[in-house]
Amino acid sequence: MPKSISVVKQALDANDGGEADIAMAERGPANRAEGKSKGQATGHARAGRKILPIVEGLVLLAALVAPLVLQDYLTVFATRVIILALFALSFDLVWGYAGIMSFGQALFFGSAGYGVALLARDVNVTNIFLVLPAGTLIGLAFALLLGGFLLLGRHPSSVIFVSLGTLTGSYAADRLARGWYYLGGQNGIPSIAPMSLGSYEFSEGPAYYYLVLGILVVVYLLCRFLVRSQFGLALAGLRENEQRIAFFGYKTQHLKAIIFTIGGAIAGLSGSLYAFHEGFVWPNMVGVVVSTQVVLYVLFGGSGTLIGAVIGAVIVEGVSFWLSDNYRDIWPIILGVLLLLVILFRPLGLISFVLGERERVGSFGAKIKEKPNAAP
């Protein structure tokens, strides 16, 4: 970690009881004791979060002003990135929080995309209040089916079984889409009518951008609520030691199926936004390439933080865009090396440059109100 960032991080950490313990553990026992007494005196049952809200606030601020400073074609690109960030969020819930290795997340993204494209093509339904819930439900239903099959056995399924199962699902869907004439075969479904609200049509540009940003913020906040609840603690247990928590009486398979289904629903929502934004869907959308892409976003940004997934999607897509413009022939190699370097040297992703382990994992205990006479 660069020294300056590390110093800032420690200074911020030291402002709060729970975090101070970790920071001080690195500095020596005397300081540690001091930090602990402070933590106890304030009755901290929850490590305060100092860095994460700052990062989240900065990302939101940047996202809010982006269309004001970007050229039109870049706003269109940024809209696509925000939709992919929403998609990345779905994978972070499933992998980063519940430890389920889904290599088939594009199945839910793409099937929802195809679903809403068919609604628009065959029955002329483009109303936002119909197509977005429909896309979400399609993602949810596919995830429930696949998740039910892969995760809901009497005994826990192995990581390999789940990752190969999801990968196979995604691959099979890709092949199916390519071969099925009704779905447009290799070419997919082109010229999807724009999403509408009454007579208003959402076309590419700032309106679509702010729509998807609004949706991203709402979904992000819901996910944040979920992963910080007691359900989030159960997910942490699931991720760290599934067998152990089964012995406490947790129905671990149910927990996994639930979070997998929620992830599928979010992927479906993002897939339907993507289909209308791009105006067409094609077999890659359900296939292995997009499934892998979302894994990279989350690994690159940092899993298990939500904001890491968003940052990962933005940076991977942004860097690809810039590299492909400037190094037309060799940009995939440069991108590949970059990704490899981050995954090798920062296995917890870019977010780990500013976010400590304790804050990443978080604390779930009851928030105890500070007693006035117990303040330090």
Partner: protein
Amino acid sequence: MPLLEAAGITKIFGKLTALDGAALTVGENEFHGLIGPNGSGKSTLMKCIAGAEVPTRGKVSFVNSDITAFTPTERARAGMSLKFQITSVLPTLTLYDNILLALQAQSSLFDLVFSRTRGVLHDQVMTMLTQFRLADRAFDPAAALSHGQQQWLEIAMALAGKPRLLLLDEPTGGMSLEERRVTGELLQPIKQHCSLVIVEHDLDFIRDICDRLTVLDQGKVLASGTVSEIQANKSVQEIYLRRA
């Protein structure tokens, strides 16, 4: 009617017969020690009772029902709890969250999502931590504890769900003498509401806290009885106690 009755438990791994018709009976509020030389099948019997292994043959009954085919989750919900031989606290979570995780295991999904039991369980979490002398470390990550303290935390987690039967696999492994003594003290009060099956190499520790002992040798029960009966048993002395 005993609380736990395991009868004719046989477990075969490939060509190895780890258990050969072993049996174990534990009454209400009884502390029962499971002893025997290395490789005698103690841990395997514990796993068959807890559901970590499915016996090849035999039957496990708990609170009058046949639980042989129950999953670990179902056994836990029936009132059985296990502390693993290898410490398996969740190292990145705080001690507080480790206990809360164990306490909330049977909360409904709705309660979990809306954190409805977070406040209610707070006192219970702190009581468990205080009882196991860990309250001052409540908000440290479990990884920061000493090995002995991690064992205590794990016993506290295993007890959090108020089980009727606690299975402890080598709770004092790797502990100092003083830590062993404290562990014995920590376990005594649970006798009022819980039975205990304990696998342990430290025979002094076993003698001090257990009411009854079962001795395994090569997958079979060599003897079972009160501590003094077992101490007087000639064949047990030959295979085991003599070496201790």
